[in-house]
Symmetry: C2
Subunit: 323 residues, 2 copies
């Protein structure tokens, strides 16, 4: 029976990954670790999942859990993945991305473990690209422009050293902006959807939504497509290689906001608050998924409309508490 | 009276920087911090230097020392700067380069301090370049190939964020291979010189020197030229800019070994030990110092022969205990 270790177990992506694993219909064992309690007991037929509270900055604890559980696959999701947050606490964001990854990779090296580690990176690593660069491919030089992006590039450089020079079986991703049901509203699309649902349901008294720079263009990929890509990369990804995981399409935040408003049939006033606009935000980001498609057969299944409808259903209440 | 905070105070470069400061003939105050005791009491006329033992990973201690001393200039020399060491302990090398810098920069941000920080980087950041790339200029993309180099690139990316986005006055260097009297023999030229002096003086019985890959070509710059560049960058460097500090000339390790043998008039057998050859070593590295020359007037003063003679004098004993 294959064993998966999942870090960042209490997060949004982990829940979807577990559902994807379950849907494969094969018995697997999962050990989830996180600094915070998941607050949910998953009930599965095929997936036997347990949780252990653990701080990945604690090297001894990481070493112990690796040695005891002896995973075949490690899905390293733990991350402070908010760009906005990283501007507020750059040092904390760095340590809780790069250093937690480093501890994990280094303990695998020290223990000489045979397992595959998925090192999750971000489209933010590309930095400010031009229209001529889109859709971006993995061979574009990274030019990180936020503390979060710097932390991810550092993780990626370390991943390459550990894969190439220490022979650790690491596969790397640059995952683009995730959307989907269950995502916290510190992320932009989830935040838009939640506010609009609140307006629709009369929870917010004013008929107004405050936003930042909605001219930004992003490539949004459904989390359920993302986790399917991760499963495929565990099976078919190549050691030391980097894979974009993206939809291949760009949409402005404004266009998505208007789609959400149309689905909900609300039309609040859109108010731009300059305090929400972050220094040096990348204007446009659209990725190419040619490489992962060629090597694993992956391509996204979810349409943007389907994702947005599911996000609205999530915030609309009947499914707000489950993923 | 200007105040300098020097991290890595007990190291080789710090001692030379203090002598350079002293030679300016103006009263200055220096607080040196290091995890290890310097083991030396400098006696100067113009420089008033004190030492405080401190671990730069201790954020509270860093904050306290910054607030209390209120430096005008910070020379951040603390580093685990051996590439060889970084292969043996990659995680420790990363933390003791990148994270110590991060703590320093972040506390300056939090305290909103007005001071200039010199962020010392390395030619190792360039990675495996080709002959067509030499002499390398600062606009070449970095391709780090060792844990040490990754740590330095991470530090550099963080420096740029802190300078550009948080307005911290950081000037960056990519300092090439240092040589000079007082350098520890974990570094290659110092190691060659010490062994040859030992052979000359009959301390080593065998007439043989064991080396690694001596075909590597490096740009060696005298530490006394390096510290003069640091002084000039404090005065004339531009915030957020990166400066190569190098000799502009490349020499193979073999050529330098033979120069040292000629100076000492010894001719031991040269034995190559493959265990000394590191994975993925950069074959050639020669820098251009055009940018720093244009912006500060700096160019190297010490000839390679002068440096090698002084290194031999250092190991020959009469000056082995002082810098």
């Amino acid at each position: 029976m294959k064993k998966y270790l999942i870090t960042g177990y209490s997060g949004f992506v982990s829940g979807h990954f577990l559902h994807a694993l379950e849907s494969l219909g094969k018995p697997v064992e999962v050990l989830g670790i996180d600094i915070a309690d998941p607050g949910i007991n998953y009930i599965f037929i095929h997936v036997k999942a347990t949780f252990q509270k653990l701080n990945l900055l604690d090297k001894e604890a990481v070493s112990r859990v690796l040695a005891e559980f002896a995973p075949d696959y490690i899905l390293h999701l733990a991350s402070y993945s908010s760009v906005a947050y990283s501007w507020k606490s750059p040092a904390e964001a760095f340590v809780n991305n790069t250093n937690i990854f480093l501890n994990l990779a280094d303990q695998i090296r020290i223990l000489n473990m045979q397992c595959r580690l998925l090192s999750v990176g971000s489209s933010e690593e590309y930095g400010n690209i031009t229209e001529a660069d889109v859709p971006v491919t993995e061979d574009l030089f990274t030019k990180p422009r936020s503390p979060y992006a710097v932390a991810r590039v550092s993780q990626e450089m370390l991943s390459e050293i550990y894969a190439k020079n220490y022979g650790i079986d690491i596969v790397l991703t640059r995952s683009f902006n995730h959307i989907g049901p269950g995502q916290r509203d510190i992320f932009v699309i989830s935040s838009f959807a939640k506010k609009l649902v609140d307006i629709k349901q009369g929870i917010l008294p004013e008929n107004e939504i405050t936003v930042g720079n909605i001219s930004l263009i992003r490539d949004f990929v459904d989390v359920r497509d993302v986790v399917r890509a991760y499963l495929l990369l565990f099976e078919k990804g190549k050691t030391g290689e980097i894979y974009n995981i993206c939809s291949g399409m760009g949409h402005s935040l404004e266009a998505i906001l208007k789609k959400l408003m149309a689905i909900l049939n609300v039309s609040p006033k859109i108010k731009v608050d300059r305090d929400f606009i972050r220094p040096d935000d990348n204007k446009i980001m659209i990725g190419s998924y040619k490489k992962i498609r060629e090597q694993t057969g992956w391509s996204p299944d979810y349409s943007l409309n389907q994702s947005l409808e599911d996000i609205i259903s999530y915030w609309s209440g009947q499914s707000r508490s489950v993923i």
